[in-house]
């Protein structure tokens, strides 16, 4: 299936280096409209102010974690259908279960590769 790669993608991570890596990997698969946020609160502000077709977020951030961001997104009538991929070093089953219960679209564990990122985006947008 064809994906709309012109959509706005919001990437959220408190490590600027990781934002840069994800942005570059997205660019390599032709997602060029990428915005960044460094924590959940900033991301929520951008999501409420703009229009995004996909959120890719880290978990471990302060003051609002990626899980809290996901919960806020799913509780917001306008945002609740936005595909949401968690990319995180949190690899315990309890984390995956909590994210799933909160409505995560897919879950990528760090360190990840470009193929995994592309695969999960295709799966998520295919079901969006």
């Amino acid at each position: 299936m064809t994906m709309d790669k012109s959509m706005n993608v919001l990437i959220v991570d408190d490590y600027k280096t990781m934002l840069r890596i994800i942005r570059n990997l997205l660019k390599q698969i032709d997602f060029n409209n990428v915005e960044e946020a460094t924590d959940g609160a900033e991301a929520l502000g951008k999501l409420r102010a703009g229009s995004f077709g996909l959120v890719i977020s880290d978990w471990n951030m302060q003051p609002m974690t990626g899980l809290q961001l996901l919960q806020e997104v799913r509780a917001d009538a306008r945002l609740k259908a936005t595909p949401f991929i968690m990319i995180t070093a949190e690899s315990k089953a309890e984390n995956v279960i909590a994210a799933r219960q909160a409505g995560v679209s897919n879950y990528i564990v760090k360190p990840f590769n470009a193929e995994t990122l592309r695969d999960k985006i295709e799966k998520v947008l295919g079901h969006a």
């Binding site: 490590y15 280096t17 890596i21 390599q28 690899s91 799933r100 470009a114």
Partner: protein, 216 residues
């Protein structure tokens, strides 16, 4: 029948209470000295069991005094004053240096990506793809900075916990410093924020995919 303190026992208790007010935390070696002095004056008045028991108490006092001396000789306060701050500074420096190096690598990769774009525009698609494949691998590898950063943060948290525990040991067994700083609290551990797991404890992407699929 309820225990009723004898008059002379009540007097003794009152005297002990007054002593406790004057000396709320007597040094263990002082207690041992008092026990030895009491034992010396009571030779012949005590049973063998009582004498052995009091001997044990005196020995306990000497052991505590020796432990205090050993802890003082270890200079455990140096751990909090110097070693742990120094170790955390070194770890912070590692994070800063690796972040700077990673940024430089990424900047260079972005230049290579632009070159790949130019090559593709000039009809050299195979070379462009080869170059971009190489930069993709570098981007993936640069993720190490995030993972090592989180691991180092976990180590720093552990060091701070050790620092707090050492402070407790110093307070319990070391020399008492009247009016000293309050003990630092161990950093709180947020629920579900475990950070990167060691490979032996971690679920990999395949395990996570299976777990997620089990909900469908």
């Amino acid at each position: 029948m309820p225990d009723t303190p004898l008059p002379d026992e009540a007097v003794l208790r009152a005297r002990l209470d007054r002593i406790r007010i004057r000396h709320p935390a007597p040094a263990p070696e002082a207690v041992a000295e008092v026990v030895r002095a009491v034992l010396a004056t009571m030779q012949g008045d005590l049973t063998a069991t009582e004498t052995a028991l009091l001997g044990e108490v005196a020995e306990l006092g000497r052991t505590i005094a020796a432990a205090k001396a050993e802890i003082a000789a270890l200079r455990v306060d140096d751990i909090n004053a110097s070693h742990i701050p120094s170790a955390t500074d070194e770890l912070d420096a590692i994070v800063a240096h690796t972040a700077a190096a990673t940024e430089l690598i990424l900047e260079t990769c972005e230049t290579l990506d632009r070159v790949a774009g130019t090559l593709a525009a000039e009809g050299q698609g195979a070379l462009s793809a080869q170059l971009q494949d190489a930069t993709t691998r570098i981007y993936e590898a640069c993720g190490f900075q995030d993972i090592t950063g989180q691991r180092i943060t976990k180590v720093v948290t552990t060091l701070k916990t050790i620092e707090a525990k050492v402070a407790h040991i110093i307070a319990a067994f070391g020399e008492r410093q009247p009016g000293g700083e309050p003990l630092p609290e161990a950093p709180p551990v947020e629920e579900l924020l475990h950070g990167p797991q060691l490979p032996t404890n971690a679920m990999d992407q395949t395990d996570i995919d299976k777990l997620l699929a089990s909900f469908d």
